[in-house]
Structures are given as structure tokens and as C-alpha cells.
Amino acid sequence: MEVLDMVLFAFTVVVFGFFIGNYVYKIFDGKKTFLDPVISPLENALFRISGINTEKSQSFKAYTLSMMVFNLFGIFILFFILFFQSGFWLNPQNFPNLSWHLALNTAISFVTNTNWQSYGGESTMSYFSQMVGLSVQNFLSAATGAAIAVALMRGLTGRGIGNFYVDMTKTTLRLLLPLSIVYAVFLLSQGVIQNLSPYVEVTTIEGVKQTLAMGPVASQEAIKMLGTNGGGFFNVNSAHPFENPNELTNFIQMFSIFLIPVALLFAYGKFAGNRREGIAIFGAMALLFTLTLGSTYYAESQGNAMLTQLGVEAGPSMEGKEVRFALGASSLFATVTTAASCGAVNSMHDSFSPLAGGVLMLQMMVGEVIFGGVGAGFYGMMIYVLLSMFMIGLMVGKTPMYLGKKIEAYEIKAVIIALLLPSAAILGFSAIAANCADGLAGLNNAGPHGLGEILYAYTSAAANNGSAFAGLTANTPFYNVTLAIAMFIGRFGVIIPMIAIAASMSNKKTYALSSGSVKSDNMTFTIFLAFTVLILGALTFLPALTFTAIAEHVLMLSGKLF
């Protein structure tokens, strides 16, 4: 039954990804779409008021400037809202202002599409902060990612890279918003709450008081998943019954994480004028995903032998899992959310088996390229695509080319920067945290699993995922600031080199493919690409994983407790 569930999941993602992919291509290649009559006037008004020239494609410098100014302004405004939360409206629980470091961390977190949360939503954030502060960035950070991906698609296929503002706005209004509306209504029908009332006090059936957190959840939940943001309205995210009440909503939530990343691959095939270019990359991602899902599922299905010894029935551990999701839907959700840079969770990764936890980390460490975040998955995978084509070219002794364009020193430098910066942030910050009192103070688990909590945190931050081994108490100046820096590096340290590549490739001459050219649209390439990801990821992070997940697994087998 669980396997059938997973097959149904894959099928749904591919079918809808295909159709949405065609739609995405139409949006960005300026073709007519059915929403034009409604959205075009709105869009044009926005562009006119903001003084944006929609005709001209930007240069690398102009594009980067627009993107950075827009995002930095987003960080500033979100910081402002959170830091002065008590001065705004819609705060029935009278939550106080956030501390400077929590506001800073959260602002950078939501603008970088990470949605790392050092706080518990229902005990920290006013409805205004959630709705007007955080939710806006759920749209705009995803739209920024998609805009960069589209710029790269255009550049690689010899078009101008486009205008940042235009592509970002189009993604928001033509893709994210319409899907979110339909999605939110579905969630409402299933029991996800949506109101602005104060928290409700119930007198339970046994006569005790229980207070239930309320809020505008459905609208935020929809875009949280579609935009691969993952910042939960509540502390426990999609494990909370008000965010994810049943198996159906859970299925749709997993589906919606992968929907746009997969659609972008199909759109890319259309841009390249050869569907197989997109499908080859899809194939590599699907292959890697099958491997990681299989590993996570297997590791989780083995259960915790030490609990069995205490007289508990044999079977998968349910610590940190919900009965309605159990083994299958928890493993699938965990793998999906860390493969894509979503970071929403429906079970507590901290309580997963050591090896499953390690697989989740590995997926983030390779840079969120197994479908990945909205846009981020595509441009992240392009790092490996260019690197693969470069290596294949060198191996067979031909000028390395991709889609008929030469890959030269400039592109490879940019690729290496984008590859090294996040990795350095992960390992560097983890090393610092593991060696200072401020870092160790936050741990919830001891032994190798404690080190795992630190490693997971910086991995999640630098990969812009946002999930956590949530036992870690991260709401301290030390963690808030270092994690914020890691998120910033992991986002813009990749985006800017990718814009550089897009702009440089767009100006290059396209050579016609000859019979001797290395092709990137076949099975050989798919397999080569998947192995490049695995080998580079493994080489960089195997030592770190050995000290955490693998060490914990071995010690667990010998019955050691911490």
C-alpha cells in the first residue's frame, strides 16, 4: 500500500508538472495564456507605477543590482515588522516584539526562501507578522528563485536573460497566486483553519482547560508548500493537525513541493527546443530521489531495537511521527522536503533513525538539486550539469560545450564559487559551533546525535532548506546570527554566480551539434550527472557524516545510549 502511494505520488507530480511546465514556458516566452485578461492589466499597472521597463533585457550587473536591492529591501522591511511587532495590528495574543537577533534571523530566513525558524509560530508571531510579514516573502522569495532559473534557461538557450522585476512579478501573479487560491480553498475544505480570532479556550471533555491556537493558516499553508518555503504557521509545521489534518492534505502538500521544480524542468525542455534536455536532467534527479527515498524508507522501517527490548511491539519507531502519516507518509514527506529545499516537516527529523537522518542531510549537502526549491533546484543542478559537461569534454578531448555553447574558464570559476561557498559555510560554522560553549549550549541530544543537530542546522541553513533537528535551541544570539550568515551565503553566493553564467552564455556563439559532439539529452548523460552529484557530495561531506549519522548508527547497534 505504501509503495502504491509512492507510485501514485510520482505519477501525479509528472503529469501535473508537464502541464504546468508548458504553462510556465508560455508565461516566460511571452505567449498568450488564459489568465491574460485578468492579470495583464494588473501587471501593467504595477510596472507603470514602479517605472519598470518591460522591454529591455538586463545585463549581468543591472540584473544583479535589481535582484539584490529588491531582496535587501525585503529583509529590511521584514526585520522592521518583526522588531516592532507589538506596534502593528492583528495581535490578539499581545505577543511582544522579537529580539534583534531573532528578527534578523527570521528576516533573512524568509527572504532567502530558507524559512529556518528559531521560534515557535503560535507562541511568537502576531497574525500581522505571519500574514503581511512572512507570507509576502513566501511568494517573493520563490518568485526570485524562479526568475533566476528562467534567466539561466534563457541565457543557456541564447536569449537575453530578461528583466528581474518582470519575471519575478509574473511568477508571483501568474503562477504562484492562482495556484495558491485553488489550493487554499481545498485546504479549507479539509479542516485547515483560516480566521483572525483570538485563541480559543475549550473546556475539555474531562473538564480541563485547553487553549487552541488560531490564525490565517490556509492561505499561508498553500504558498508555504508551493513556494518550497516550508515555514510553518505553527511550531511543528505540517505535523500540526490544523496545518495538515489528514492523509489527503498530506498527499497534496508533498505533491505541491515538487510541482513547480518539476514544471520548470519541462519548461526548460521547451526553451531548449528539445524536450529531452529537460527530461535528461529530470531523469538524474528522479534516479537520485529513488535512491534517497529507498534508503530513508528502509532505515525508518527497521525501527528502534532498543525500544523493542523494553516491551514495545516491533516495527517502525513512532516517536515524533503522527499516526495518520506513520512510516510511509512520514518517510516520503521527509525525503521530499529535504530533496526540494522546502523544509516543511510532518514528522520530527530529530527522532528519525541515524541513517535516515544522514540521508536527509546528504540531500541538502549536495545543494538541494534533487528537484530542489522553486528555481533553486534548477539553477543548482545546472552547476553539476556544466561541471559534468566540462569533465566529459576534457575526458574525450573535445572543447567542452553545453547546448552548443563553449564552457570556458569564466563559467567554471562561477560554478566552483557556487559549489564551494555553501559547503564552506556548512562545515566552517559547524566546526565553530561544535567547539564553543554558545554552540554546545543549544543541544537537546548528547553524543554523535548532538553533533548531528549542529551539522543539520548549518546544512539546512546554507542549503536554504529550513527543516531542522528541532531539538536544537537556536533562538540565541550565537545561532541566530551565524545561521543567518549561512543562509545569506547559501542563497546569494549561488544566485549571483548563476546570473553571471546566464549572462555570459547568452552572449556566446551557438555551434551546431555535429555527430561527434557530446550530447546532454540521453541516458548516458543522465547517469553521469547523477554520479557527479553523488561523488562530489560524498567527497565533501562523508567525513562530517561519519562523525554524526554513521557513528550514531554503529553505536546504536552496540546498544549505547547517551
Binding site: 507605477i49 504558498i223 511491539e313 513512532m318
Partner: protein, 196 residues
């Protein structure tokens, strides 16, 4: 630079009005109009007083009720304003000790022998701390205690249990499970509240 900032600020403001006000308030209106019950939290009322949400676990300690899974939400568990899992790993001594205690308590409560295995979901905390469901195995064991303390035949409780067992969607998506809140409400409705 300044011109760029002006563009950003204006566009950002426009998109904020659309995404942060128009969108959620539209959903709010649809919620209030079409799905009023769900939008407010699927609450159950006794008279005018809310007594439960069918989606959120509440603590049941008395023997005539089915008991939910252990909870790590808030200091005493089942705190609707502080959802949380325990976040304890496989090799955690704390987890080990907690489960050991819960196994003993569960056996004592349900009159099980020391050799009988205890259901996994009954002794582990859920992800949210508010998981309203338990497994059918767990519920079946508890049914005996519920029947005994209510002074009714076990088969009657089992009947209620069968009626309250939720199946997978189309037999594919989901798990068989029992909602503690709704089954306990059904028990009180069918057999009356037990006076203590």
C-alpha cells in the same frame, strides 16, 4: 542605485497589497462563508461552550475514555498553544527512560501481563504533541478497560470502535486509525457520561 531602490519599494508595496492583504482576506471570506466550521477549527460545542476540536488531541486520563498518545507539547502535554515533539533521537537515554515508564504505566492501566507487547504509538510522543489519532491495535487493547469502567459489555465498545475506525482514502492513501476525541464523544453520547 536610488532609482533602483525606488522601483523595488514601489513594486514590493504593490505585491504586498496583493499577496498579503487581498489574497488572505479573500481566503478568509471564503472560509467564513463556505467552510465556516473548518475555518474556525472544527470545534465541538456543548451548549455554547466549545469542548473540543475534532482535529486536536486533548488529554484523557480517566479509565472510561480512550487515551491519546503521549504528548510533548508544552510542560504538561496537549498544549494547543505550544505544539512540539520530543525531538529525542534513537540513542537518547531520556527517550529510553520515558518509554520504559510509559510501557509500565500502560500495562498497569490496561491490566496487561509483563510479557505482553505494548503498541508503539501508545508509548511514543507524536510529532505535534496534538495527534488526535491512535492505532486500531492500541484502541482494541484499551476497549476492555473502557468497557469495564463503564460497566458495559466489551462488544458494545468494540462496535463503537469499528464505527469510529477511519480507513485509508480509496484504500491507498493513509492509515487505519481511531480519533480519540470523536470516539470518546460517541461513547458519552451512547452510554452517558460516567459520574466520578
Amino acid at each position: 542605485m536610488f532609482k533602483e531602490l525606488e522601483k523595488s519599494v514601489l513594486l514590493f508595496s504593490g505585491l504586498t497589497v496583493i499577496c498579503a492583504l487581498a489574497y488572505p482576506l479573500t481566503i478568509n471570506a471564503i472560509g467564513a462563508g463556505v467552510f465556516a466550521d473548518q475555518a474556525k477549527g472544527s470545534l465541538v460545542y456543548e451548549g455554547k461552550m466549545p469542548i473540543a476540536s475534532t482535529l486536536i488531541a486533548q488529554n484523557f486520563t480517566q479509565p472510561q475514555y480512550f487515551h491519546p498518545r503521549p504528548s510533548a507539547a508544552g510542560a504538561d502535554g496537549y498544549d494547543g498553544t505550544s505544539s512540539s515533539g520530543s525531538n529525542l533521537g534513537y540513542t537518547s537515554q531520556k527517550l529510553h527512560d520515558a518509554v520504559k515508564g510509559r510501557v509500565e504505566a500502560y500495562r498497569a492501566e490496561n491490566n496487561l501481563s509483563v510479557s505482553q507487547k505494548v503498541p508503539m504509538d501508545a508509548v511514543t510522543t507524536s510529532g505535534s504533541g496534538l495527534d488526535p489519532h491512535i492505532t486500531v491495535t492500541n484502541a482494541t487493547i484499551q476497549a476492555k478497560r473502557v468497557a469495564l469502567s463503564r460497566g458495559i459489555e466489551e462488544s458494545k465498545v468494540i462496535d463503537v470502535l469499528h464505527k469510529n475506525t477511519q480507513k485509508a482514502y480509496w484504500g491507498i492513501i493513509g492509515e487505519e486509525k481511531v480519533n480519540v476525541v470523536t470516539i470518546n464523544l460517541t461513547l458519552d453520547r451512547e452510554f452517558g457520561k460516567v459520574k466520578i
